[in-house]
């Protein structure tokens, strides 16, 4: 299929449309509000569901197949924040704290983008490795630590460092993702079946609901777009493209399947908006949250959701033909 056709199909999925609806609701200043507790509940659900499904599929994987992909994922976790930092400092002329803060976000991952690419591949009926949620967990944290380390070296200090690293490792997304994985692994396929009517079947619907809220959250950041400037807007679109290609390439080298490489590319391309902001706000309080939140939530996330995923799918096809 052609890339344009893929983008069109993707744009007309209920998930992307719900995201757009969220944006529209905010722009017309609707009184539509998502209860914070529903947001929290849905994100617990999504993380756990992703983990459990991955865990149940892990029972079919050998550790062997897993080793190389895990290694290149770790590599991505070091390479992307370093590259991102350099670009932001040199080309973007950002200060140390702001550059490191943004780099931490682009090195880490967005779980919802992961869920979206999973859904996209399932609709295209392209299989991918069952251990991909494990790679999400592997990619989420190291990049943040690397970026904070860079700032620590460049600035001579970073406040509350030990606490920040501990909080990262015990962060809710890690706990739920890895916890779900272990549950899925131990309970196996038959265990997953018991809870499938909640954790598998309605997953796409729950993601749709969640993206409605994400659209509202993203749109609330739109008015900051002017303030953050043209460079960051371009950065929020081009950096994912670069990272996505690197991810696909490394995935291919590591022996991932076509679907697996698309997922790893998307993960590399995605920017964190849960783990990274919380860590950065504590460890680098002097960094301006407008920069990293706007870039991650209002630029890169929508871009990946609407265009990035089909693009990476198209790009990966060059590596796999």
């Amino acid at each position: 299929m052609e890339i344009f056709e893929l983008v069109r199909i993707n744009l007309l999925s209920p998930m992307v449309l719900a995201f757009v609806l969220g944006i529209v609701a905010t722009l017309v200043r609707s009184d539509l509000r998502f209860p914070e507790e529903l947001y929290t509940g849905l994100s617990i659900y999504l993380l756990l569901a992703i983990g459990m499904k991955g865990g149940a599929e892990l029972t079919k994987t050998t550790l062997n197949e897993f080793f190389m992909p895990a290694l290149v994922t770790l590599l991505l976790g070091v390479a992307i924040p370093s590259l991102a930092y350099l670009i932001l400092r040199r080309l973007g002329r950002f200060g140390v704290a702001d550059a490191a803060a943004i780099a931490a976000h682009y090195g880490s991952v967005s779980v919802v983008t992961f869920a979206a690419v999973q859904t996209f591949l399932e609709l295209q009926q392209i299989p991918y490795e069952g251990f991909m949620p494990t790679l999400v967990a592997i990619l989420e944290i190291p990049a943040i630590i690397v970026a904070l380390l860079i700032a620590r070296v460049a600035l001579g200090q970073v406040g509350h460092w030990g606490e920040v690293v501990r909080d990262l490792l015990a962060g809710k997304s890690i706990i739920l993702l890895l916890g779900g994985l272990v549950i899925g692994l131990l309970a196996g396929t038959s265990g997953l079946e018991q809870v499938a009517p909640l954790f598998v079947d309605p997953f796409k619907g729950a993601l749709t609901l969640f993206l409605l809220e994400m659209g509202m959250v993203a749109a609330r950041r739109f008015r900051d777009l002017r303030r953050v400037g043209g460079f960051l807007i371009a950065y929020g679109i081009l950096m994912p493209l670069v990272n996505g290609c690197v991810g696909i390439w490394l995935g291919n080298l590591a022996g991932l399947s076509y679907g697996g490489a698309v997922v790893l590319g998307t993960l590399a391309a995605s920017a964190s908006y849960i783990a990274a902001p919380a860590a950065v706000r504590i460890a680098l309080p002097q960094a301006n949250p407008s920069y990293y939140l706007t870039a991650s939530l209002a630029i890169t996330f929508p871009f990946n959701l609407a265009f990035g995923i089909p693009l990476y799918f198209g790009i990966a096809s060059w590596f796999y033909s």
Binding site: E36, T40, E213, V217, P277, A278, R281, P285, P289, L293
Partner: protein
């Protein structure tokens, strides 16, 4: 009835745990947190890090001396980088030894 100080801190939700720990260390014997609260001030809308999080209000009844210690500490450690305000009210309490 004894006169004490009711110190109120309004801060980014992400700081809750840390502030509570520090209040204890500065001598507060108890505290009450109301959250989430919404608000705007010099930093505009609160810096919502997790899309869910907003501000919290932390209140603690303390002696005048500890109140000013808390005020100085917050000013030193939070005013420059975080959206935090602090104010102090005069309160009358029963069982004042409980708070001292």
């Amino acid at each position: 009835m004894t006169k004490l100080k009711l110190v109120t801190i309004i801060a980014e939700a992400i700081l809750e745990d840390r502030l509570v720990r520090e209040l204890r260390r500065l001598g507060a014997r108890g505290y009450t947190v109301t959250g989430v609260v919404r608000g705007e001030g010099a930093h505009g809308s609160p810096v919502i890090v997790d899309p869910g999080g907003q501000n919290v209000r932390i209140e603690t009844l303390v002696s005048a001396e500890i109140a000013s210690r808390i005020g100085a500490y917050i000013a030193d450690h939070y005013f420059s980088d975080y959206a935090v305000i602090i104010y102090v009210l005069e309160a009358e309490v029963l069982r004042s030894d409980k708070y001292l």
